[in-house]
């Protein structure tokens, strides 16, 4: 026991058979299973736990829950280091390591505590008024100093080694909080047969009952608790989720929940997540999150050893720890007297109880006298002192006479605030309830109701009755048969009378409103003086309530002081709205498994394995991985490989996967009609068995997408889209059909994933193809000319589609087979092509050849170009309506000098071109005013043996032969280029038709 000098010899909800050793600031201590880090530190007599944000004041443990502003530590070490962890909710485990924060060189001796001496200058907003001269000093001197001083803990230096999961759940009734109200609600709803989920942030259910010595129906509350938990466990449709914080309320009954699955272990077990982020969809929810006790603002109220009175009871009753041996209680409510009682029962000396009320209940007076506590009625604590540990408080009576009492613990109670944060998440403001001197929930998010203390119904009897009633109502709302209300429970008497005192003026030293952000009552006064009176201005100017505790213990005091200063009431002064999350949530948990390679799904073409076997280097292309090029042994740079692939196609034959192109099957009597309306060119006259290039615009007249569409039957078309726009075009077509023209008789389906497709390109393409198609199909130039498209069979009856289309400008085909045959198709084509020297080529070679041919692709389809810009204006039919037709005629879209597509080559053929370079007339300065366009795409042509580029240039088409500068200041480039035709190879297109 001597290792835990403040541990009581009996009682508490700790497991004394499981000692757990841990380290704080390197020093070894022991606690028990069932402890939090805070209770274990207190058991060992550790009071000083951290340093404050601005003044580096010594700070201890204020609370026993999620509201803790002071006791923040760095938990764990190395890549698992978690800064700003509240010791009051960190479950103790064997081997736990924690360090204090924001101190140097040590917690006990912190050099930056000199800030306290200069504190008079460091008032709220001081930085807005200085550091302005000289201007250049801000980034170099002032700001780095401020930054170094700011922030509390240190983030981990490495990648988080733990895993996270996301999960979804659906229920009828979600109960938030496992205290008396929540348990009663869950039981009532669960008994009706409703699917119930009960979440509690604690690792042990029971809520306030765990911290109190209470009776229900004349028996210890623990018995009721055990029986209730047992019954809930027996109900098959009730799920209990401890260690699970409901952090946010979102639209339509969606609740964000983070479950700390393994934070109570040193390291999560193998294949187990550290935390799990849930989205729980609930038809109804009941908030039974209890209440948070309020401190009082007085000088030195941040001294370690000053603690909330309810927290003192929690440490004594739940953790069997004495937070101090000589206590004073400062309370404005009957509730604080219970702390006096429990402390005395646990063996502490309660020297005094200070209550600003003059009239004290006789029973309480008798209790004090039994205990031997001196009662100071009509008095306040005006200051607490002791520096790193409380040693003395000063008590001031109504006449102003002061008296000092030695103590090592001051328990403070000023009433409770309902934990209503979640009710504010949809922008509803809490409303002031004068009867209980607290804000209670305002308008509720749909489906959510509040029970017990969270609704301002503070007594245990009220909580039990309220919970049961609301659980029943919620179940009825979800369609379950109403059960008779549970019989009312009888509880032992409790006092909740309250006459709050927000601050005690005139003490010696700083009086803190917001402990963590070091906001004092003087800062609130300054804000009022300078006109920052609206509560939001108060918050933003002083940073009140903006620390990691989000003002759970400070907001009300802050606005009560502002109300006093402006001679208004608290409701007139207003309140800020609590934002989600209720308590801070790990970024990793909300990211789930979506990190590293699994950040987004990876799509693989059905030919992927084949490409891999060919040694492909892959590149991300949206969600797809596409073969970029296929290096051979001895090729040391990508350009060598790509050049070889291009030459192989132009001189022989190559094979390229094009499965990722979007493919949309369109059938129905009006199939041709919808093409007429979405493409700028005509489709009705396209014969069956033919393909055509199509261009579609957005309704605003700019180009949306392009592709080749084939007529496979009178009422059957197959559209292809670019890889990038496959989904978007499908959605667009559905829009056109379902929204714009529902009377059209068509059906459409995306078949992008149903077909594998390969391009076979080069003078020897036909010879290769003949080796795989079934012999009855004639693909001679006469029988199957350029732009033919037909359904055929390959490999002995396997259905296939063959298109004579070409992106490379060579004799070329695209062959499609059902996706499952994709791999076999590629291997069969390679085998058939082997005698012809067939070569696999990737997207790079594809890109080189399309630039050689002046075909547009993604860089030109930027969404900022018109059909005319791309040299395709003539395709626009004047005989029909189509999407984008009208807006494409706007004056700025048809201006002659709009940049249009044209080709470029360097005047000095050895020079490299760069995409993204801008065009400036020779002799003119390189300025925005002289900017005439930019280079969209470039490639090295192994056929021409120089770089070539496509670009958009003012009046481009009329300037062939001119020279201009391509300036590229971000890469220090500035070269002369010659404007030329965008078709670099085979401008007559003869190769297509052989």
């Amino acid at each position: 026991m001597s290792s835990q000098p403040f541990r009581l010899s009996a009682g508490g909800l700790i497991d004394r058979t499981q000692a757990q050793s841990f380290r704080f600031d390197g020093k070894r201590y022991e606690g028990y299973a069932g402890d939090t880090l805070a209770s274990a530190l207190l058991a060992n007599g550790v009071r000083l736990v951290g340093r404050s944000f601005k003044y580096h004041r010594p700070r201890g443990i204020l609370s026993a829950g999620a509201e803790e502003p002071n006791a923040l530590v760095e938990l764990r070490a190395g890549a698992r280091r978690e800064p700003n962890t509240r010791a009051t909710v960190a479950e103790l485990y064997h081997g736990l390591e924690a360090r204090s924060q924001n101190r140097w060189p040590s917690l006990a001796f912190d050099l930056l505590s000199v800030n306290s001496l200069f504190g008079a200058g460091l008032v709220a907003g001081f930085y807005y008024k200085t550091f302005m001269w000289p201007a250049a000093f801000w980034e170099k001197l002032y700001e780095p100093l401020i930054r170094r001083a700011a922030g509390l803990g240190r983030a981990a230096p490495h990648e988080d080694p733990d895993h996270y999961e996301k999960a979804f759940a659906f229920c009828d009734v979600l109960v938030i909080g496992g205290g008396p109200a929540g348990l009663a609600a869950a039981l009532a709803a669960g008994r009706s047969g409703a699917r119930v989920i009960l979440c509690d942030e604690d690792f042990r259910l029971g809520g306030a009952l765990l911290a109190e010595k209470r009776e229900i129906d004349g028996r210890p509350a623990a018995e009721w608790l055990a029986a209730t938990l047992a019954e809930l466990a027996s109900l098959p449709d009730v799920t209990i989720m401890p260690r699970s914080t409901v952090y946010g309320v979102y639209d339509h009954g969606i609740y964000g929940v983070v479950e700390r699955v393994n934070d109570h272990l040193p390291v999560p077990p193998v294949h187990q997540p550290r935390q799990r982020a849930w989205r729980i969809n609930a038809k109804r929810a009941i908030l039974a999150a209890g209440a948070i006790e309020r401190p009082i603002v007085f000088a030195g109220n941040d001294t370690p050893g000053v603690m909330l009175a309810g927290a003192v009871r929690a440490y004594v009753n739940r953790y069997a720890v004495l937070p101090g041996r000589e206590a004073v209680v400062f309370t404005s409510s009957d509730d604080g007297w219970a702390t006096m009682r429990d402390l005395a029962a646990a063996g502490a000396k309660v020297a005094a109880i200070v209550d600003p009320r003059v009239e004290i209940d006789a029973g309480l007076m008798a209790l004090a006298s039994r205990i031997g506590a001196q009662v100071f009625a009509g008095s306040v604590v005006s200051s607490a002192s002791g520096g790193r540990a409380l040693d003395r408080v000063t008590i001031r009576d109504a006449s102003g006479r002061e008296q000092s009492i030695a103590c090592d613990l001051l328990a403070v109670s000023n009433g409770w605030n309902p934990t209503l944060h979640l009710t504010s998440h949809q922008n509803s403001r809490p409303v002031w309830d004068e009867a209980i001197h607290a804000f209670v929930p305002g308008q509720m998010p749909a489906g959510l109701s509040v029970a017990g203390s969270a609704a301002g119904r503070f007594s245990l009897a009220q909580a039990l009755a309220d919970g049961a009633r609301q659980g029943t109502e919620a179940a009825i709302d979800c369609g379950f048969a109403a059960k008779a209300e549970l019989p009312p429970r009888k509880t032992d008497p409790e006092g909740i009378a309250l006459s709050p005192v927000w601050r005690v003026k005139g003490g010696k030293g700083k009086a803190f409103v917001d402990f963590q952000n070091d906001v004092t009552d003087k800062d609130v006064e300054l804000a009022a003086r300078e006109g920052f009176k609206p509560v939001e201005h108060l918050k933003r100017y002083t940073t009140l309530g903006m620390a990691t505790d989000q003002g759970k213990t400070s907001n009300i005091a802050g606005l009560a002081i502002m109300a006093e200063l402006t001679a208004k009431t608290i409701p007139e002064t207003g309140t800020t709205i609590f934002r989600p999350p209720y308590t801070p949530v790990a970024i990793g948990a909300l990211g789930g498994h979506h990190r590293g390679r699994d950040f987004r799904p990876t799509r693989l073409a059905p030919t992927h394995q084949w490409s891999q076997d060919q040694g492909a280097v892959f590149v991300e292309s949206g969600a797809w991985m596409r073969a970029q090029y296929y290096p051979k042994a001895g090729e040391t740079d990508w350009l060598t490989t790509v050049n070889r692939e291009v030459l192989a196609v132009r001189n022989g034959v190559g094979l390229c996967d094009v499965s990722t192109l979007g493919k949309i099957d369109i059938q129905g009597a009006d199939a041709a009609e919808i093409l007429e309306r979405v493409y700028i060119n005509g489709w009705k006259a396209l014969p069956v068995g033919k393909a055509r290039y199509g261009l579609m615009l957005r309704e605003d007249g700019f180009v949306m997408d392009d592709g080749t569409t084939s007529r496979l039957g009178e009422t059957h078309f197959l559209m292809t889209t670019t890889t990038a726009n496959a989904g978007k075009v499908m959605q667009h077509l559905e829009f056109c059909h379902q929204v714009l023209w529902p009377s059209l008789d068509i059906r459409m389906v995306s078949v992008s994933e149903q077909w594998a497709q390969a391009a076979i390109a080069g003078p020897k393409a036909r010879a290769v193809l003949q080796g795989v198609i079934d012999p009855q199909h004639d693909i001679s130039n006469e029988a199957f000319p350029y732009l033919a498209a037909r359904e055929i069979t390959v490999g002995g009856g396997i259905p296939a589609r063959l298109f004579r289309i070409s992106f490379s400008g060579e004799l070329a085909y695209e062959l499609a087979v059902p996706a499952d045959y994709g791999d076999a198709m590629m291997r069969a084509l390679m085998a058939a092509g082997e005698p012809h020297g067939i070569c696999a080529y990737g997207t790079e070679a594809l890109g080189v050849m399309r630039i050689e041919k002046g075909h547009v692709a993604g860089n030109e389809l930027s969404g900022q170009t018109t059909a005319r810009d791309l040299g395709l204006g003539k395709m626009m039919s004047s005989k029909k309506d189509f999407i984008g037709r009208v807006m494409a005629k706007r004056e700025a879209l048809v201006e002659a000098e709009r940049p249009s597509l044209i080709g470029f080559k360097a005047v000095d053929p050895s020079q490299r071109l760069r995409a993204g370079a801008h065009f400036i007339a020779i002799g003119k300065p390189a300025t925005m005013e002289n900017d005439e366009g930019y280079m969209t795409s470039v490639a090295y042509s192994p056929n021409l043996k120089h770089w070539m580029g496509l670009g958009l240039l003012k009046n481009g088409a009329s300037r062939i032969g001119e020279r201009i500068r391509a300036v590229d200041p971000v890469r220090n480039g500035d070269i002369e280029v010659e404007i030329c035709s965008p078709v670099f190879v085979d401008p007559e297109g003869t190769r297509l038709h052989v």
């Binding site: 339509h252 969606i254 989904g727 379902q738």
Partner: protein, 91 residues
């Protein structure tokens, strides 16, 4: 948000793609004027409150839906297919 898809039941809004105001009607045909088309493409009522809007259930039934939703509260009043059913398609 959850959108009550008339075909699939209530589904997470993540399954849907948003387009916007469902009220503007495309001025169809060769006689459509630039002014009418400008109104259709660019001008919006953008009300704070009840709003009829188009959502596409791309990860579900591929239906375009007209959803009636309050832009101040996000409460959804109705969701119906944009394409009228046979019975409703008089025109």
């Amino acid at each position: 948000m959850r959108i009550p898809c008339p075909h699939c039941g209530a589904r997470d809004a993540q399954e849907f793609t948003y387009l916007g105001d469902a009220n503007p009607k495309r001025p169809d045909g060769m006689e459509a004027t630039e002014a009418a088309m400008f109104d259709y493409v660019y001008q919006r009522d953008n009300p704070a409150g009840r709003f009829r809007e188009l959502w596409y259930h791309g990860a579900g039934c591929h239906a375009w839906l007209v959803v009636t939703r309050d832009t101040k509260t996000h409460a959804i009043e109705a969701a119906e297919p944009a394409k009228p059913t046979k019975a409703g398609a008089a025109a």
